[in-house]
């Protein structure tokens, strides 16, 4: 009896030592890694488990992603508070930057191969479009349509 318990204890100790480093125990490092993903992958990562979903829903992760794709004035606290008031970086990316970047990479500039297909959008333009969408939502519209032009056209043929 005692020998079996010792055996189990040994196996457990071995497991702990051999299991190695668990990313889920270090949420900040997880967040740091996730900030390097692109939008789609971040969305996929959010479906992995509850912890990852929580981390992926942090606005700071999306803020880093947005900052990578905009030119002009990103990253200061003034911008941050305005974006937060308009709905947050995650929504900015989902509604505005994401579709716009898809659109720009589709009609992409082949003269910029080192950008790896990542296009840049001006911060002022994206925030302008975002603010119009936010304004339409104020009326309680379920599906404001002002940003629909960014989505890829549906082929109904």
């Amino acid at each position: 009896m005692g020998a079996e318990q010792e055996q189990e204890q040994h196996e457990q100790d071995d497991d702990t030592m051999n299991r190695g480093y668990n990313l889920n125990d270090n949420v900040d490092i997880l967040a740091e890694i996730l900030t390097r993903l692109d939008g789609r992958s971040l969305g996929v990562a959010a479906c992995v488990c509850r912890l990852w979903s929580t981390v992926c829903n942090r606005d700071s992760v999306w803020e880093t992603l947005c900052d990578r794709h905009v030119v002009g004035g990103a990253g200061d606290s003034g911008t941050r508070s305005v974006v937060a008031a308009l709905g947050g970086y995650r929504r900015l990316y989902r509604l505005c930057l994401g579709p716009a970047l898809d659109r720009l990479t589709c009609s992409g500039d082949p003269a910029d191969p080192d950008k790896q297909g990542w296009a840049h959008l001006s911060l002022s333009l994206s925030l302008s479009l975002f603010s119009i969408d936010c304004y339409e939502r104020l009326e309680g519209k379920q599906r404001p349509a002002s940003l629909l032009f960014l989505c890829k056209p549906v082929n109904v043929a």
């Binding site: 720009l104 002022s124 925030l127």
Partner: protein
């Protein structure tokens, strides 16, 4: 007003906006099928399906490619392939058309299109000379031709609208749109194509540059509509280095017919947005049916604030037949100069629809709106309903240009060169729209799904066009020596005018939300 836009698979789900759309379309005459003279061959030639039920029409276009014609139809719905389309009128059972047949069909369509345009011109000429009998005969002939041409796109569609407008000129009187209908159509036009967005963003850029360094700023909007231009400006001011100024917006618009104060509602929304981004904000609504009813004292321009006057597609309504002076626009320009704004942003259609002779106007309008409709189709807006309503918006303009005369004709578009002369004569100096505005406009256009749009810079003004034909222009102007403090007469209280002026104040700030009347 129901929610705009819905999934492409659930077009008929927003039933609450259906009756409104029916009302709009009935108002524009599409529901009429029994009015008109008895020799009219087929009353609802212009749209193949029951025109007062847009949702069913849209559904059938999207899903039902193989339906047989019903009732008054003389056009098949859009078939799945182009070859089917051109072959079905001739030989519906033939499933393997030959190339010769296709080529012949194509040539016939082209010929019909050319014949239609020729007929339109001749008919307009007849109308100008007063030979209504001849014109009526030609309208009938056009109807017959239209039944053989595809009126769902291209020249057939535009010709259909113009033929319809000629018909209205001959037989009916054109009723103006109600205010709410006009707003709905405007909103759909805003969403369907980039012209209005381009206008708003360019004007905002000019206003932003003019407001640099001022702590109190005042924007006077000549047509508020739903205030879609201002969220972007509010946001840009919030992010201004040095902090946002105190922003006042005065929105001018027609009084709402049903008692609700539409201007005030828009003001509330703008105030809420401004509050969320911490911009001190105040709104004032001025209800007036015509811009020349507005007097400067109603705007309450005060000392020390930077004023911007914004006119999007409004100044042309104040013009009259060329040669008849004085035009109302001159008095409006006079008081604009009088309040000494830092910038006046003017957006107008780039077209010459105010020529004295009817045939000249008609020809110009035909080419202008052909290009416009071309661009609408090219940009493939998301929802068929959105495109249909955007087209109704344009159709109202066409009818006004073709059918109305004298005071009723408000769509008196003039080209940028003529506006330049007019504004310079009124005492305004042009402001060169910077490269920032150009870059922003170009970037905005890359986001639209089609590549036919082109932004050009013409002497410091920006124009947006389709395939090298400019369709809308945006320019900025200022008063010379505008840094001198404003005159005192702008705040003199004059006697109240009875032209249904009603104004209210809404102000919001971080600390309190006072609403004062």
């Amino acid at each position: 007003m129901g929610p705009y836009g819905s999934d492409s698979t659930t077009v008929s789900s927003t039933a609450c906006s259906g009756p409104e759309i029916d009302a709009i379309l009935t108002g524009t005459g599409y529901g009429l099928s029994t009015s008109g003279p008895c020799h009219v061959a087929n009353p609802d030639y212009s749209i193949p399906f029951n025109p007062s039920d847009v949702t069913t029409w849209v559904d059938s276009m999207l899903t039902d490619f193989n339906s047989t014609s019903t009732g008054n139809l003389h056009l098949q719905p859009i078939p799945a392939t182009w070859t089917d389309q051109i072959c079905s009128p001739l030989n519906p059972t033939d499933s393997s058309p030959s190339h010769a047949l296709i080529a012949q069909q194509r040539k016939e369509e082209e010929d019909s299109g050319i014949r239609l345009v020729h007929l339109l011109m001749t008919c307009a000429d007849a109308v100008q000379h007063g030979s209504t009998g001849l014109a009526a005969g030609m309208v009938d002939e056009m109807r017959v031709l239209l039944s053989r041409v595809n009126t769902l796109s291209g020249i057939g569609k535009v010709a259909g609208y113009f033929a319809d407008a000629l018909f209205r000129r001959l037989y009916t009187t054109e009723t103006p749109l109600s205010v709410t209908d006009h707003e709905v159509l405007y909103h759909h036009f805003y969403e369907a194509c980039p012209y209005l967005k381009f206008a708003h963003f360019t004007a905002n850029q000019a206003i932003l540059e003019a407001f640099e360094g001022y702590d109190r700023v005042h924007v006077i909007d000549f047509s508020l509509m739903q205030g879609l231009q201002w969220p972007a400006l509010i946001q840009a001011l919030a992010l201004r280095p040095g902090g946002p100024p105190f922003l006042r917006i005065t929105g001018i618009g027609p009084p709402s017919p049903d008692g609700r104060d539409a201007l005030r509602e828009v003001g509330f929304k703008l105030a809420e947005l401004a509050r969320s981004v911490r911009v001190r904000f105040a709104f004032r609504g001025v209800a007036a049916n015509r811009l020349d009813d507005v007097k400067p004292w109603m705007l309450q321009a005060t000392h020390g604030e930077a004023i911007a006057v914004n006119s999007v597609l409004q100044l042309h309504r104040l013009l009259t037949d060329p040669g008849t002076t004085p035009a109302p626009v001159d008095s409006v320009l006079e008081w604009i100069v009088g309040i000494r704004p830092k910038v006046v942003t003017v957006v107008e259609q780039e077209a010459d629809h105010n020529k004295p002779t009817f045939i000249d106007r008609f020809t110009e309008a035909l080419f202008y709106y052909s290009t416009m409709f071309d661009s609408l189709e090219g940009s493939r807006p998301h929802h068929q309903r959105q495109m249909a309503l955007a087209e109704v918006y344009l159709q109202k303009e066409i009818c006004n240009i073709v059918c109305c005369e004298g005071e009723n004709r408000v769509e008196r578009h003039e080209p940028l060169t003529q506006w330049r002369t007019r504004l310079t004569n009124a005492g305004l100096n042009p402001v060169h729209l910077g490269s920032g505005a150009f870059r922003q406009a170009s970037m905005l256009l890359t986001l639209f799904s089609d590549e036919g749009y082109c932004v050009e810079e013409v002497d410091g003004c920006l124009t947006l066009g389709w395939h090298n034909r400019a369709l809308i222009s945006a320019s900025a102007w200022r008063v010379p020596d505008a840094d001198v403090s404003p005159d005192d007469d702008s705040s003199v209280i004059a006697s109240n005018s009875n032209n249904c002026i009603n104004s209210n104040n809404i102000s919001g700030s971080d600390d309190n939300n006072r609403i004062s009347m």
